[in-house]
Symmetry: C2
Amino acid sequence: MARPSVLPSQSVDFPRWYQDVVAKAELADNGPVRGTMVIRPYGYAIWERLQAEVDDRIKAAGARNAYFPLLIPESYLRREAEHVAGFSPELAVVTHAGGKELEVPAVVRPTSETVIGEYMAKWVQSHRDLPLLLNQWANVVRWELRPRLFLRTTEFLWQEGHTAHATEEEATAYARRILREVYADVMTEVLAIPVVPGRKTRRERFAGAVATLTCEAMMRDGKALQMGTSHELGQNFSRAFGIDFLGADGERRLAWTTSWGSSTRMVGGLVMSHGDDAGLRLPPRLAPVQAVVLVARAGEGVDRAARTVADDLRAHGVRVELDDRTDVPFGRRAVDWELKGVPVRVDLGPRDVAAGRVAVVRRVPGSATLVPPAAVAEETRRALEEDQARLLTEARARLAERTADVATPDEALAAARDGWARVEWARLGPEGEARLAEEGVTVRCLVRPDGGLPGSDDEPGALAVVGRAY
Amino acid sequence: MARPSVLPSQSVDFPRWYQDVVAKAELADNGPVRGTMVIRPYGYAIWERLQAEVDDRIKAAGARNAYFPLLIPESYLRREAEHVAGFSPELAVVTHAGGKELEVPAVVRPTSETVIGEYMAKWVQSHRDLPLLLNQWANVVRWELRPRLFLRTTEFLWQEGHTAHATEEEATAYARRILREVYADVMTEVLAIPVVPGRKTRRERFAGAVATLTCEAMMRDGKALQMGTSHELGQNFSRAFGIDFLGADGERRLAWTTSWGSSTRMVGGLVMSHGDDAGLRLPPRLAPVQAVVLVARAGEGVDRAARTVADDLRAHGVRVELDDRTDVPFGRRAVDWELKGVPVRVDLGPRDVAAGRVAVVRRVPGSATLVPPAAVAEETRRALEEDQARLLTEARARLAERTADVATPDEALAAARDGWARVEWARLGPEGEARLAEEGVTVRCLVRPDGGLPGSDDEPGALAVVGRAY
């Protein structure tokens, strides 16, 4: 089929492709205040499904949801100086409310770390109150000068987990559990994005953390996107906020805390991991619409046949939509569903109905098969399963192909032109890291040669994964 | 069992009872900024379940979720003058961000009406784009001088629906459908709160609305709580925001819009509708924990017996928790679960295990039955069903008993001392309404004698439901 080119090619202008596909697939629009975003129904349906998958896993890890206020007294952000340093220029400040100037200005939360710290200190008294495992789904605001929809917006939606534990071992294990069982699992199994779990270098880690763990994903332009992070905070935050408890032995001790987050940024990662020149390609497990039954033209028996196929798909547990807007040209609608990345399209018109077969068109491999209407549901279910796996396999192959094992900073820079490099951290070191940074290339994370998480910043044998990043 | 009095009696000090039960059942705490609220895990679990019930029904009514920005340019709120008048003193304003003063201050949304209006105008072009049925789950901020947790907080969580339709009939029908199929249904069937659906008088309705429909509930102190509202906005908003469309006939027309909302306030209504002197009483369908297996004392075989009962309950689809903290006195834990309103408590200790029977204690009727462990799940399921119905029946009886049919404003005032009055609207009228208002008594809504919704502000035969309100 001749394809009207509705998007610029990824290979010609990737940033422009991204901007256009987000707009044309109706994922999001720019908001009226600089850097803010309107998430449109189709984009929000993707986020809702993603949120449910993350939430299920957070609950399975024993954390409970709560909600802390949007507005935080400015004074709170001065308590943990190191923490503030990273945020001040990003803050939005409420100075007037209730028709007059506030005595103490309130900050719109850039994270809830400080306010949650205050309440944890109040709620944790005895070892019986531990572990305290909290999570919050909320909007946060960090003023952005160079916003990009989903990737970097002044306001974004996220979850932030905050936990307190009696021992260091328990806190460390929990931070790692969240990285593995929540983030890496959702990204691999649901988003079909193969992530590299690793440990941030001292230079890249969260202010105040003892260790920052991350899931890094490679986009189709070879750049990295940090998709979720989990921090071991040691006793730094419990010291700053006074989170201590009476042990079973009658001794008062500081708790060990963690924090971890993932956000609407993941939607951007989804777009840039799987999308192609024709638009989005959604992993079937996440797709709000898994199959669309597209009536090409009205005609004898077409309506009833379309409805039967749609009902059958629904009965087989497929999230299906019926598109019978035959007053809009078929080609335009087909291109639109392609743009939206719906995994399966079932095309049918009068001739198909007469011939007793319809076309099942798959977005991921781009293939079309003719099958009898009664076989559509079975065919679709098989396609959805296959294409979920296919997207992951494809992304894994790209990641492997575009990651070079190198020996020097210069070679790392060369590899980072359109992919990643892996280099021994002992050879690169903080100095090599600083040199790369001058060229806009960063150490995304440190990993063990077997893919495991290094236990310290200078673990012998650790490899640095290096690349350009969003 | 002798009851340690952990709460003041409702009949002695209802406001104090409310404040204490919210704190002691660990539903919420005051936030650090005046009037804000920290929703604790137990309170949030209630909200999450309530939210899911509302969301399911909103989706069944065809609306789709989206997300609009928190920050709105101050100029937006000047477009619909009548609308602003109601809000200005309540606004929180961001004047500084990104380290400097903003050229245009941004308001923290008190509602998203204006920003959604702007985008609707952009998205609605043709009759094919209608109806446009949007909903948003979000936090909003309205500065409160006399805050009360859940009932009136500076920040609260809500959903706001905004829809645009091609005809007045369709818009009117949709606003009514939401009131009935979403709000009244959730409140009656899930919250077990019998609401009175009605129409607000001109004095009480939302600025800019043609009609405001409401669900009013009676609390245990006889006062009214507005639990959800649905507005017919006519063409007022589409005129202000330019929401127009090209009809099938080629004519350009203004759309007809609606908006509707419900909030965390419903949690306050839940507390005040069913709670008693011993604490909350949660309707089983909503309760995050439907049954708690309470190990009274450790002993031979107790742990295993408790675990077996809990597993059996879980296998029967009951949301169950196991409380085996035998280092905390049994009485204290029993009182605590009672405070939290958990519908069923299964008590067991060494003697029970030896005797082959455990106590099933029901929160709503306050009854206890001894049954063999193997019969607990069946007994619990029956109890949960019965007690859901019992709470509704009880609340219905109270509503009927404390609503007096009266003929004069004076009689209405007398009835409003500890309940509601119903009086012919034709007899009361705007003048009578103004007189009542001087005494702090308002017309909660107008209803038809058969309970239906009046079609206009002055429908002959309509009754005014009158009372004091939160």
